[in-house]
């Protein structure tokens, strides 16, 4: 089932990348959504039309949008099902917090600390992606999904026993036990399952939006490059790709590592947006949530994933008025949207409706309507 899904979308996506105009259209829409979203939200915040509740979600929205874009690189463009995206996010988040805590002792320019922390997060997350990617990218389909799932859990459990703190000389020390040698309990900065506390909030909406733009830039350009086409051709037909001399592992690893690095950066932004961060945040549910964004937006459809991520992040908050029925309503909305997005009848209806507004130019094919419905 899943493979068929990938194949269907795959052939379409590849065509899209080969044609320059399709690429320009995708980039135009994606950047457009980001820009318009940013301006509208910023205006709303300035004029006071948007309350604290939504304003407080600006950064998480950008983070989840970035995560959806980066996961789309693995799931949509490289065609591998990954269930460990939250693991990379965790690596990035805790690296970022650690780096920020260290830098804070000698620097006071928060934006600069934020940038350095994000770069460090990208580095460690890509190393994690590389280490995990080498052995597992030989696996396919469900097997890869299971291993990435396990990876996410391993990262979380590792964080659960990881302790960092400064000793009396200001030297950073770590341990896998709650007592770190030479470190007073109050000088610990990352404490196992409790996670990090007392984090300085450095993330801002502008910074997060810039990060999303950067993520978009990397993914779209990779998709439209020679390497991107190689990645997609391997997705569509591995044997054909190998027969023309493409190194399958290299290209799969490339997509995986880039995606991991971008997830790490988003994780860092997320970590530096709250005063406390516990490893339990990065459990299986978060990985699945990001995958839901991607699937709901249409696998391989970058801007679809962006909209899905933004809407689904805001939705649980918007449903607070339902009080006790909030979670129930959320689930129902999710199911209805899923059914509507993938239901051929509804897709056809929406397609007809949309076609009405299109210029006479010859109809641009059947498979398209999924995007509009998203």
């Amino acid at each position: 089932m899943a493979e068929r899904l990938f194949k269907n979308i795959g052939s379409r996506g590849l065509k899209g990348a080969v044609k320059g105009s399709e690429y320009r259209k995708e980039a135009f829409i994606s950047y457009g959504i980001l820009l318009i979203g940013y301006i509208l939200l910023q205006l709303g915040a300035m004029t006071g039309l948007i309350g604290r509740n939504l304003q407080g979600q600006f950064v998480p929205i950008c983070v989840y949008v970035s995560l959806a874009i980066s996961l789309n690189l693995v799931v949509g463009i490289s065609g591998e099902l990954s269930l460990g995206h939250a693991g990379f996010m965790a690596v990035g988040a805790f690296t970022g917090i650690l780096v920020a805590k260290i830098l804070e002792r000698s620097m006071s320019i928060n934006p600069l600390i934020l940038i350095i922390a994000i770069i460090a997060a990208a580095l460690t997350a890509s190393i994690a992606g590389f280490i995990i990617g080498i052995p597992i990218l030989g696996l396919r389909g469900d097997y890869l999904a299971i291993v990435t799932l396990a990876f996410g859990e391993i990262v979380r459990n590792f964080m659960n026993v990881l302790y960092f703190g400064f000793d009396s000389n200001g030297k950073l020390r770590f341990a896998f036990n709650h007592t770190i040698e030479g470190v007073d309990t109050s000088d610990r900065i990352i404490t196992g399952a409790i996670g990090a506390t007392g984090v300085t909030k450095m993330a801002s909406f502008t910074a997060a939006a810039l990060l999303t733009a950067f993520t978009l830039f990397v993914v779209l350009n990779l998709k439209n490059s020679k390497q991107g086409r190689a990645i997609m051709s391997i997705r569509d037909n591995r044997i054909a790709g190998e027969s023309i001399g493409l190194e399958v592992r290299k290209y799969k690893l490339m997509a995986f590592v880039v995606s991991a690095a971008l997830a790490g950066m988003a994780g860092c932004m997320f970590g530096l947006n709250y005063s406390t961060l516990a490893p339990v945040k990065f459990n299986f549910n978060t990985s699945v949530l990001i995958l839901v964004f991607v699937v709901l937006g249409g696998i391989g459809n970058i801007w679809g994933g962006m909209i899905a991520a933004a809407l689904l992040t805001v939705l649980p908050e918007a449903l607070r008025q339902f009080a006790d029925y909030r979670m129930l309503t959320y689930a129902i909305v999710l199911i209805v949207v899923m059914i509507c997005t993938y239901n051929p009848t509804i897709k056809a209806r929406v397609g007809l409706f949309v076609d009405k507004f299109k210029p006479k130019k010859k109809k641009s094919g059947k498979g398209k309507t999924g995007k509009e419905a998203a």
């Binding site: 829409i29 039309l49 309350g51 604290r52 509740n53 005063s275 406390t276 509009e372």
Partner: protein, 395 residues
């Protein structure tokens, strides 16, 4: 190029939908004040806690306990200051808790009672500190909650203070016992209590006869730890742990024919309801808990009855904590002399003044004459219960 416009329309509509939904959320809440408009106005209390998910038991207890207190106060004095109470779900998640807090601020909350659990409360406390909201948490006991936040106060004992209170109680009442400790060194709650217990207990020359640790992955077999206790001649074991591993310890000790006195903290609360555990083994267990529904205290009896009538279940400690929080805030607010129309930050500064003023005390279900220090920690007499005939009996 025109084709893109349709897509933009879709996008624009989506964005507008988000706006519309949030606008709805903001608008409808204005009608949410269920308290009748009294002469002295309405003070809006808000809370965040896990109403769904694995920790929902705690959040719902706080929600109900506070609701009960609010209804009592409103009914007792319809012409005086009225309270309103809005509890938002945070799913025991820091991110959701901040969202819930922001939503409450949007809706005009003036004082926050919460969050219920430590990690969300730590995140909310930082936001509330920057935004100047007064916070009184019924149950978030971690030290990170109050650390550096002058606006955050705890109604429960903080973890370190539980250790100190336990050590003092044991020293005063069981001076002749040989004391040992088994604790979970992978758990901050447990190790936080233990650290302070040890330093307090050993502060005047006494020594712990034996200290043994375990971790979450090895919490089934305690033979080694128990043998160590037995060999050291320990006849009182302090267990700053949750009730599940504690039940294993009791079962295995009984098998070994070893029968020390056990002393637990609030994590032990719940051991009598554990399935598959022979509650006879828990007979004589001492535990430090602020509240027991079996207390003979008239106030507690009244509360338990009202709670059972309203919600059909026996209240747990969290409900009592929340109940006390509401009364404490109510009393403290009267002292500030502010009107109910005062802004959130005015109330915050005034309440901080009252709480740290030195002469403010509050009595409730969980303790008599509680007072607070500037760090936000509560000072109250710990209550120790002993399990007799399958019930908690106050010592």
């Amino acid at each position: 190029m025109k084709k893109n416009w349709t897509k933009f329309l879709v996008v624009a509509l989506s964005v507008m939908m988000v706006f519309a939904m949030t606008a709805c959320g903001g608008g409808s809440s204005d009608g949410g004040d269920d308290a009748a408009e009294g002469g002295a106005g309405v003070l809006h209390l808000g809370g965040t806690g896990p109403l769904t998910g694995p920790a929902a038991l705690y959040g719902n207890a706080v929600k109900n306990g506070a609701e009960l207190a609010v209804n009592e106060i409103n009914a007792a004095n319809p012409d005086g200051l009225q309270l309103s109470w809005d509890m938002q779900d945070d799913e025991h998640d820091a991110e959701k808790a901040v969202n819930a807090y922001n939503k409450l601020v949007d809706d005009g909350m003036q004082v926050l009672i919460g969050s219920v659990t430590t990690a969300p409360c730590t995140a909310v406390a930082a936001e509330a500190y920057a935004n100047r909201t007064f916070v009184l948490t019924p149950s978030a006991s971690g030290p990170a909650v109050t650390d550096g936040n002058d606006n955050v106060f705890q109604l429960c004992f903080s973890d370190p203070n539980q250790g100190i209170a336990s050590a003092e109680y044991i020293k005063n009442n069981y001076a002749d016992k040989t004391v040992g400790v088994i604790y979970n060194n992978a758990d901050n709650y447990s190790s936080g209590i233990f650290d302070k217990f040890k330093s307090e207990y050993e502060s005047d020359g006494k020594q712990l006869a034996a200290v043994e640790a375990f971790s979450d992955d090895a919490n089934a077999d305690f033979t080694a730890q128990l043998n160590s206790m037995k060999n050291a001649g320990v006849d009182l074991i302090f267990l700053p742990i949750y009730y599940t591993p504690a039940s294993n310890i009791m079962t295995q000790a009984a098998k070994m024919g070893y029968a020390p006195t056990y002393f637990g903290v609030d994590g032990m609360d719940g051991i009598l309801d554990l399935e598959g555990f022979d509650t006879n083994l828990a007979e004589g267990v001492l535990l430090l808990t602020p509240f027991t529904p079996y207390s003979e205290d008239a106030k507690v009896q009244e509360f338990v009855k009202a709670y059972e009538d309203a919600y059909g279940e026996t209240p747990i400690q969290f409900a009592a904590d929340a109940y006390d929080c509401v009364y404490t805030i109510y009393d403290a607010f009267q002292k500030t002399g502010l009107g109910a129309d005062a802004s959130m930050d005015e109330i915050c500064e005034a309440l901080i003044g009252v709480f740290t003023g030195g002469d403010f005390t509050s009595s409730g279900l969980t303790a008599e004459s509680m007072s607070w220090n500037a760090a936000g920690e509560v000072d109250k007499t710990p209550k120790v219960c002993v399990i007799e005939d399958g019930k908690y009996v106050e010592k």
